[in-house]
Symmetry: C2
């Protein structure tokens, strides 16, 4: 019965962004002032869904004997980011046009060149090597290969024009632009007072490794899990919640004995993909992407991303990485504090390896939103058919758990419905609605993914039963009023 | 049986800070690098307790028909802070010593002067007015009165010496120092790219007022609630989690019709103080502080703080404020967007008044920690007595809900205990411990406030019952293993 909402990726995203705003999932940040690029606010439905998602992750990851929780501050000692390599390496290459003073990220300029222009450049770079007809794929591939390094950038710069003023050869050399937001602590704005908004939550875990270990008396292997905001001064934000400047991560770093790292890596890969599936994400929209050995981050021994098939293409939702002992070793080196642990077997001290599972809360929120979005033909009360929009969210993720309606606003129905609402409210996020035709009320709940609607009707007056309508199947059961709490406790456990 | 842990306030705080670190409630941020002043990390026990606290607040405030949730971004459009008045007014007066270049907050310098010095200054400021013996209270009061304004600062500056180099008359004039952290969005660090880390969460609610209202179809009166981090570049951080640079707020803004504001104000005052009491905070440690009419913030019509009796004195934990239509009017003015609502009765549009309940999550976390801290004499297994440290946290706030012990590590007891642990774990944060004497295991749980300990002993092998030990009374009940889940479901509902 389901069909893709639209074959046009841009249209699908537009529909979802529009629903997200209209129904209170996601608003542009500070929208009344024109918005702040790369920042988004979660509305009444969004914050419930995001909290549900984070709570599910937290239970999944920390209700284990060997994983501890943490909530480290966003502002950290600046040496942290020297040790982590972010001060030196967390950069994008930027160029300025000397003519018109426009500033660009060089990889973006290159990406946005036309195929024809790319072909031109290839021919100028290697005269004779690219003659005759060239397939588009060949051009793209060769161009990407020849622009993959810093040195290559410099060679290409004289060949391209400024997208703003159109002049050629007016670019400065490429400079590194650090993606960390910086600010100043205390009253003096000088370099000694610089601190950064953390660009990832992981380092908060590494610097607390010993504190957590000694407070909890955990032994290797064990993990530390954290949910929190991180910030990156992205030059190009895009795709709704996918690439933003402010975002939330759900990370777990698992500390293991070197040599056992591959086994733990496999274990956590299994655990993590299973989590998305257990919350109803469609298998066909999930895939693993392994980082090629030559393209691994400097700290990584192996790395897989869990990708989701977004309307704009496959995109990373979570990374499972073997970070080796890189981080702890660097922090040892920069802090002068030993971060080694004692091995009871060999009686030697060693620096643990780290298996990391790093999920984007904001990205997986968007993935669950996209994945649950359906447009379906549904029968109307009059015997016809209409298109209904329904978010088939897992009940544990749904922002509203139960909606309660009186069929009509008389004969004591509203009073009974209110009573049911009050009875359920302490346990569940419930919603009461008495306005409009009941069919329209169902549709409004479908749009925000409410799994169950309870309707009080004339039969209720006779036998104290109500209809419980299931969102996905639209099946309606009769349930005794007095059995509702138990019914929903079971449904959401 | 309870007694104050110590009569010395500093000592009490020291004891609690030390417990907080040792048992994993709160660590200094980036401690291995010497810490970052005014920033703290929540460890494994702290994050559970903080999350419990936030979750209780969220349920209390948003599981209502007329309150919606929100999670706005930390970075907001900079016009927001012009409208709110923070760019202009959220400042501390600072001075520099021209000699040694030290920088000070002038109110702090004045506060830290000796009584003798204050007396000297009073006599110089008003020759003849303060002759003979002066009571200390009179000096403090007069000095405070004469240093309460910006103009007064300037007159006093020539009379005081630099605390660092000791020179007198070397201070610059006082300048305003803004307490907002600023950073730059995008690649260019100029004034057009300045954004601020929000110094309060409230404005995220005001700028989203219309979006929330139209997505939810709420009508006045209704509220919007939010939990989130805020940042203030405090020059003097102090008292552990009380005055920090990074902190978390739990705020609700309730939008009402002008004229009904006083009644709503009283309602919310009642609701809010009751919340702390319902979570077990001692009444004698809570008080209302009303802002004197002459000292109200520029936006406020009336304001009360809920204060807690911290070891260092009474301190604000939450403010309940009547903010009038100040904020919405200012945002209307600065954004050019109407934020008025339609009155069905009078058929006129009006700007709602706002009743705000603004609680510090970090501060109330600390208050609950302090409030629950007890040192008591308790009997030992050998018939003697010892001092036990116990956090008498409300069960809903306790980080670990149930600890499970085998009495000894043999006879199948560990296996049964493991089975109980596994059975409870999906629902509760549980902890398994088999090391050391059971009395010591109880003490360890007392220190982190675990409400129940389950012990598997030899009788368990005979009749499938365990002891359930209550933290505060230390009473021990026998409960059937099969009834444990129900027992704890009831205890934590």
């Amino acid at each position: 019965m389901s069909k893709p909402a639209s074959t046009d990726a841009g249209k699908v995203m537009e529909t979802i962004v529009s629903l997200a705003k209209r129904r209170g999932f996601v608003f542009q940040s500070s929208e009344i002032y024109g918005g702040l690029n790369g920042c988004w606010d979660y509305g009444p439905m969004g914050v419930e869904m995001l909290n549900n998602l984070k709570q599910q992750w937290w239970r999944e990851m920390t209700y284990r004997e060997n994983v501890e929780g943490l909530d480290a501050s966003i502002l950290m000692h600046p040496r942290t980011w020297e040790a982590s390599g972010h001060v030196e390496n967390f950069t994008d290459p930027m160029i300025d046009c000397k003519q018109c003073k426009s500033r660009y990220r060089i990889d973006v300029i290159l990406e946005e060149l036309s195929l024809k222009k790319k072909k031109d450049i290839l021919r100028q770079l290697a005269p004779g090597a690219f003659e005759g007809q060239l397939k588009d794929e060949v051009v793209e591939k060769e161009f990407a290969a020849r622009t993959a390094t810093d040195a290559a950038f410099q060679g290409i710069l004289p060949l391209i024009s400024c997208p703003n003023c159109g002049n050629k050869g007016t670019f400065t050399d490429a400079r590194k632009f650090n993606l960390m937001f910086k600010t100043f602590v205390g009253p003096v704005e000088d370099s000694s007072a610089v601190v950064y908004l953390r660009p990832e939550t992981a380092q908060g875990i590494f610097v607390n490794f010993l504190n957590v270990q000694s407070a909890t008396r955990q032994k290797i292997p064990f993990g530390i899990a954290q949910i929190g905001k991180a910030f990156r001064n992205e030059i190009n934000t895009k795709n709704f919640l996918f690439r933003t400047r402010e975002f939330e991560q759900m990370e777990m770093q698992f500390f293991v004995k070197p040599g056992s790292d591959d086994a733990h890596f496999e274990y956590w890969r299994g655990e993590r993909i299973h989590w998305y599936e257990s919350l109803g994400m469609k298998k066909e929209n999930l895939q693993w992407h392994r980082h090629e050995p030559g393209k691994l981050a400097h700290y990584a021994k192996d790395a897989y991303d869990i990708e989701y098939r977004f309307p704009f293409g496959w995109g990373e939702m979570e990374g499972v990485h073997n970070r080796t002992d890189y981080d702890l070793s660097r922090h040892e080196q920069f802090s002068g504090k030993s971060l080694k642990v004692f091995d009871e077997d060999t009686k030697e001290r060693f620096t643990p390896y780290v298996i990391e599972t790093s999920a984007g809360a904001s990205r997986s929120f968007m993935a669950f939103l996209v994945d649950s979005y359906h447009e379906e033909e549904a029968p109307t009360a009059e015997g016809g058919s209409e298109t209904r929009t329904v978010l088939k969210l897992h009940p544990l993720l749904a922002p509203i758990k139960v909606a309660v309606f009186p069929l009509v606003n008389r004969d004591g129905m509203p009073e009974i419905a209110r009573k049911i609402e009050a009875d359920l409210r302490p346990q569940f996020r419930v919603f009461y609605d008495e306005s409009g035709a009941v069919g329209r009320r169902y549709r409004r709940q479908d749009e925000i993914g409410t799994p169950f609607c309870v309707t009080v009707d004339s039969q209720t007056l006779a036998d104290r039963t109500v209809t419980v309508r299931h969102r996905d199947s639209m099946r309606q059961d009769r349930v005794a009023v007095d059995a509702l709490r138990r019914f929903f406790s079971d449904a959401f456990s």
